[in-house]
Amino acid sequence: MQIRFSPEEEAFRAEVREWLGGALPPALAEKVKGAKRLTKADYELWHAKLHERGWLAPSWPEEWGGTGWTPAQKHIFEEECVRANAPRVVPFGITMLGPVLIKFGTEAQKAHYLPRILDGTDWWCQGYSEPGAGSDLASLKTRAVRDGDHYVVNGQKTWTTLGHHADWMFCLVRTDPQAAKPQEGISFLLIDMASPGVEVRPIITLDGEHEVNEVFLTDVRVPAGNLVGEENRGWTCAKYLLTHERTNIAGVSYSKSGLAHLKRLAAKQKSGGKPLAEDPLFAARMAQVEIDLTALEIFNLRLVSAAGKGQAPGAESSLLKIKGTEVRQEITDLLRRAIGPYAMPYVPEAFDEGYNAEPIGPEDAMPLAKGYFNMRKLSIYGGSNEIQKNIVSKQLLGL
């Protein structure tokens, strides 16, 4: 057993770190660090940088522009990107659609869409969730009816992250309402957001932000050639996508960044004349979550290592997701507690580029309570933690 990274892996880490030092604009890293709002251009810039370096799509096969990295390398790469405060890569094209097209798409679909994902021509969004079908995808209601060489799509999608920036949406639609089981009769369709009948409406989240949307589809005509895989077999694509690349689901790197931030804050904040970091209860809470994170990181590496031997992560990745989100949420809770009364001010304009007023309260305090509430989503989306427990219970424990 060798629990540490090998010299080769550490050399790779150094290479990534060095490249990030040059490629990532410091102003952009500052925005990410300060939890400022990112513009579409911010995302596009970073996308382009990664594409230029050839590091945009580590999970794709090399022939389509992938990197040929081992799971350990992918893990190191993601860890370093988070550590450097790089913007996240919007996952819908790269992480989600790409692997589905590569597995189920026609040669023509692959040749057309994959390069456009890489070069940033098409911004993709995801059309899975519907009102009334959160964690229960099989109950979706959006209908697609074949009409000549088109499908006519009617329905409503929701929680469409960054859909207001998107050119295209991949979408689950019901093509056979009479199918024996609800997850049969679903198809996987690619929809041009510029099509007549597509309307994107913002959803404002509890923290006052606009990141997700509703997408209304009214008599939207979609060419039959935009079907991926077989008609009525879209569930296969959806399941593949849900089980793909889940070793980084724990968000360990984000937790490490958050914990480092927490420690800096707690060292500066005073409580009863001493640094908060020396308050026995607060220090104990920080130490407890750090211990959990330490263990979680090893658990994550165990699965990365297994993936490196070709063992597909199964329901264990659900355990990672549950504990990972618990740890991240606990850290956001301690962050909001750390700043005491200064958790209260809420100045939405402070998160825009160009806001120059003096911050209220300690440095970096302003996004913290907002972040605490926003991060409640972690245990809800991507399959709620309750769904993950059901999966573990069934698949891993056989209950």
């Binding site: 229960d136 929680w159 989240t205 509890l206 908060l276 909001r336 809420y346 809800i380 427990k389």
Partner: protein, 365 residues
Amino acid sequence: MDFALSEERRMLVETLERYLRDRYPIETRHAASASENGYSREVWEALAELGAVGAMFPADAGGFGGEGEDISLVFEELGKALTVEPFLANLLGGTALALAGGQQGLLDNVIAGVTTVTLAHGEPASRYALHHVETRAEGGRLTGRKAVVPNGDSADHIVVSARVSGDVDAPEGLGLYLVEAGAEGLSRRGYATVDGGRAAEITLENTPATPLGEPGQAGDLIERIVARGVLAASAEAVGLMQVCCDTTLEYLKTRKQFGRSIGGFQALQHRMVEMVMELEQTRSAVMLAAASLDAERADRERALSAAKNLAGRAGRMIAEEAIQLHGGIAMTWEYPLPHFAKRLVMIDHLFGDTDHHLERFRNFA
């Protein structure tokens, strides 16, 4: 031993409940929150007329209540309606006026809803330390900074704590002063708060002020004012928890998933039971705190800290579980629940959080 309400208090509660239910739907509340002062003057005046402000003060201060139970009942109702009107600010400022004496005319106007007052006590470096005051009083003028003052941007009058002598954390050497909103050298930076309220950073630069009571002797007064704040915040938390529990229970009953109402899933049922249990625990602790508000100091402070500790601990649990059991819809601004959850969690940042009061509880053993 009898936990029933007196007839007068039952009527007050019913009056408040009816007004808020009929005249203060969530849209009205959001509009009030988004307005310039962050609350509705009209609602404030109407509630004052119904006696909700007067109930916070004893008869000898011009009110008709002022006991722990009065305060907790009012604030529980305010919590249930997610009220943003400046009750806490006026409870704090008004209690300062009432306890220090000598400003009955002003207090009468506060109780009548004609004018408003707040307390500017916390400072940028004080966190939750009860007597940490760096603001100085010299020659009847104040200089210093006050932090996160509730409704500090719109209050007509501000009671300010300042140090006459002593170290920054000493309970001795503190005074309370009345300052007019438009006083010379006073500047206010108002802002919204995460829970839909308003607060301000206040800077005083050689600002003229009227002493309330004996300068240098206010340490104990401040503790007794904050005691009322702790009780009010904890009772408001109970009201908020009640709504979070009720809303979640209703959602569990109506929301369908995998072909059945999600309230049929035993794992969710058991979590709902735990939420209700923590609500009842907090409610019980608040009852004890209300009954102990005028008890001797150690009993009072222990009961208050127990209530505030539970309000913070159960409050977080209930806020988080309510959102989690709802799923996505509770992440949206449009849905009322998350606003209750936000206020509930923010109460942990008022007058000391759950750990602060755990420590305080044991220090008064």
